[in-house]
């Protein structure tokens, strides 16, 4: 599904590479977790795969397509749930979704019905006509998710989709992502919630300093690491306990 070869990214004026010669393969219908400390390169990798930034070197394909040759087809194929709320606060939830759905070429009754259906599943139906600015963090996260999946993408990228939300909202989001995955959507997701990733992901990769230091099924990684009872133990053993503050 996603094939990454020798992918590197060095930002302008940066001293080091954010991603360095990264090789990775993500199979179809996988729920793939990208884990790593702050500044490890997770968001950079997602930004590259969503064509928000261009690589310094290397290449990747999604479903056999590249942005160079099939930019719009590829954009139609993917969905991205950014870390920030990418919504218009002064518009209602429904208006936001109508607009972003239209940008994927969806229209009319089909779009409206898709919006209503998804809002219903994610418990937002009664807030459809309320302005997003009045929503709680958890509600905004759910709208943020819906805006990215209206066109039923084959690949869904989620950059920390459950950060700052309550347990109930987190649960609803994760459950809905499972439904999407069961329907055939490949999910690539970053998170600092390692317990959540351990339960949710079929496969994870731990990235640090722009390189993948390990990858595999969560259970497999736990069993391969001595004295590890969970993914967090594996994570700390591989990335260390030192703080990763950076500016």
């Amino acid at each position: 599904m996603i094939r990454i070869e020798q992918l590197s990214k060095k930002y302008k004026y940066a001293d080091t590479y954010s991603l360095s010669n990264l090789d990775l393969f993500i199979a179809e219908k996988e729920i793939f977790g990208l884990l790593g400390p702050n500044g490890a390169g997770k968001t950079t990798l997602i930004s590259l795969l969503c064509s928000l930034i261009k690589p310094t070197s290397g290449l990747f394909t999604i479903d056999g397509l590249t942005y160079k040759t099939s930019k719009n087809r590829l954009k139609q194929l993917i969905g991205i749930v950014p870390q920030e709320y990418a919504l218009y606060p002064s518009l209602t939830a429904f208006e936001n979704l109508m607009y972003f759905g239209s940008m994927y070429g969806l229209k009319g009754k089909a779009l409206k019905s898709k919006i209503n259906q998804t809002m219903d599943i994610l418990g937002l139906s009664k807030f459809a006509n309320k302005k997003v600015s009045t929503f709680s963090g958890g509600m905004k996260r759910r709208i943020n998710l819906i805006a990215s999946i209206l066109h039923e993408p084959k690949v869904l990228f989620l950059d920390e989709p459950t950060v700052g939300v309550d347990v109930q909202s987190k649960n609803v989001i994760i459950e809905y992502l499972r439904i999407l995955n069961e329907k055939g959507t490949t999910i690539i997701y970053t998170s600092h919630h390692l317990n959540e990733a351990e339960d949710f992901c079929t496969k994870v990769a731990i990235i640090d300093h722009g390189k993948i230091i390990t990858q595999g099924q969560p259970k497999e990684l736990i069993s391969n690491q001595s004295n590890a009872n969970n993914l967090e133990d594996v994570f700390l053993a591989l990335t260390g306990k030192g703080l990763r503050d950076h500016a």
Partner: protein
């Protein structure tokens, strides 16, 4: 097309949800046009209760001082206050209590007569017409000086017009004195025998453009509405650039970049909505000129037979302004960059375009710069329609420039966006 319509609708919703912003977009230009027109109209009109008080110290008390005083009084623009001492008048003016003090020197009228008589006698003697052949020792008459004191804060234009006015009055008196001296000498004091016609031989008549049989006489409203409407239209760059910067900062722009939609479509939606805003602003200005100004005692805006052409100019001026707003919004990173820059830049463009000061009085270098100001093209097109009664074909060059400006600014925005995102 569907994406463009959706983008347009989204922009419409965004702009209508910001009631305060919307009110500012329409109310501020209205306030601006009313304020400026009232101020400018009163500058040109003689309003009885709005006379400028000036001081006059009259050491002459003759015909010249009488003519100067009468000249000021008859102009209806000044209230002449007489003072006895030059020092007192000077102090009051330099303190800023009065704009001007005029000091008329002693024996000005008497010495002017003497000087003119001396000169006339000299001329007649040369021609052999002077009967008195006795050689007179000529009295030395020193040149006279009318002294003017201006408040240091007084503007140069006011100073110049006052100086010109006094100069004109004195020249007229001098000429009349010369005629009178010749008359006295030649007719030997017989006033009934008019040898010279002292009325001005050369007069001025202003020929104004005509529309049919009707003369088009521009008034302050015909001048102000186009200039300040254009100024207001160009101010659209401030909210428009803020709109784009906001979108970039709130993350929606990131989402749009991952959507299969071009930046041109996104800008297209903004262009349509903000162009409608510009045209509504324009309609408001026209309505004020036509219906409100007459009720305020100001001249009525005459749009008869010009409405279609006016809308064409407003449309293209709006496009140029929007192009600039799109470019500024694309380049600026924060609202702190876009808002002050946009506001200041509009004022600069207005100055260059001739909104404050006519282009023909600018230095050569600024006149050249003015040629590349879209506000100058817009203002010229508006003046063509409003004041020069031009046909459509005559202002095509200006609206073509406005359109090209829009196309170029949008192209730069798109290219810049592409390059910028290729991090």
């Amino acid at each position: 097309m569907h994406k463009l319509l959706a983008s347009t609708y989204k922009e419409f919703l965004l702009i209508t949800r910001d009631v305060g912003g919307l009110a500012i977009l329409f109310i501020m230009p209205v306030v601006l046009i009313i304020t400026i027109t009232i101020i400018q109209d009163s500058s040109f009109k003689s309003i009885a209760d709005n006379k400028i008080p000036i001081l006059l110290v009259n050491h002459d008390n003759g015909l010249v001082s009488e003519t100067i005083i009468n000249g000021f009084v008859e102009s209806n623009a000044f209230q002449v206050i007489q003072k006895n001492k030059e020092e007192e008048a000077k102090d009051l003016v330099f303190k800023g209590d009065y704009q001007l003090a005029i000091i008329i020197p002693e024996k000005l009228s008497l010495d002017l007569d003497k000087k003119v008589n001396q000169n006339v006698e000299g001329i007649l003697a040369k021609f052999g017409l002077e009967e008195d052949v006795e050689v007179e020792i000529k009295e030395t008459i020193l040149n006279k000086e009318v002294r003017l004191y201006f408040d240091p804060a007084t503007q140069q234009t006011f100073k110049s017009s006052v100086k010109n006015g006094i100069d004109k009055m004195i020249s007229k008196i001098e000429t009349q004195s010369i005629y009178k001296a010749f008359q006295d000498q030649v007719s030997e004091g017989d006033d009934t025998e008019a040898i010279f016609e002292t009325d001005s031989f050369i007069s001025f008549k202003e020929i104004v453009p005509k529309k049919g049989d009707k003369e088009i006489i521009p008034n302050s409203v015909q001048h102000n509405i186009p200039a300040w409407t254009l100024f207001a239209i160009f101010f659209i760059i401030v909210p428009l650039s803020i709109n784009i910067v906001k979108e970039k900062n709130q993350g929606t722009f990131v989402r749009l970049r991952t959507n299969p939609v071009s930046y041109a479509t996104v800008l297209g939606g903004k262009t349509i909505v903000y162009l409608v805003v510009c045209l509504i602003q324009f309609v408001l200005m026209l309505l004020i000129g036509i219906f409100l100004f007459p009720k305020m005692g100001l001249p009525t805006l005459d749009v008869a037979g010009r409405l279609f052409n006016l809308f064409i100019v407003a449309f293209f001026a709006g496009l140029a302004a929007i192009g600039l707003g799109l470019l500024l919004g694309t380049i600026a990173k924060t609202q702190e960059q876009s808002a002050p820059f946009g506001a200041t830049f509009v004022v600069i463009l207005a100055a260059l375009g001739g909104v404050w000061v006519p282009v023909f009085v600018m230095p050569k270098f600024m006149q050249t710069l003015s040629n590349i100001s879209p506000m100058n093209w817009g203002l010229n097109a508006f003046y063509d329609v409003f004041l020069r009664n031009a046909s459509f074909i005559e202002f095509v060059p200006e609206i073509t420039l406005l359109l090209l400006f829009f196309i170029i600014t949008v192209l730069i925005s798109i290219i810049y966006n592409e390059k910028k995102n290729a991090v």
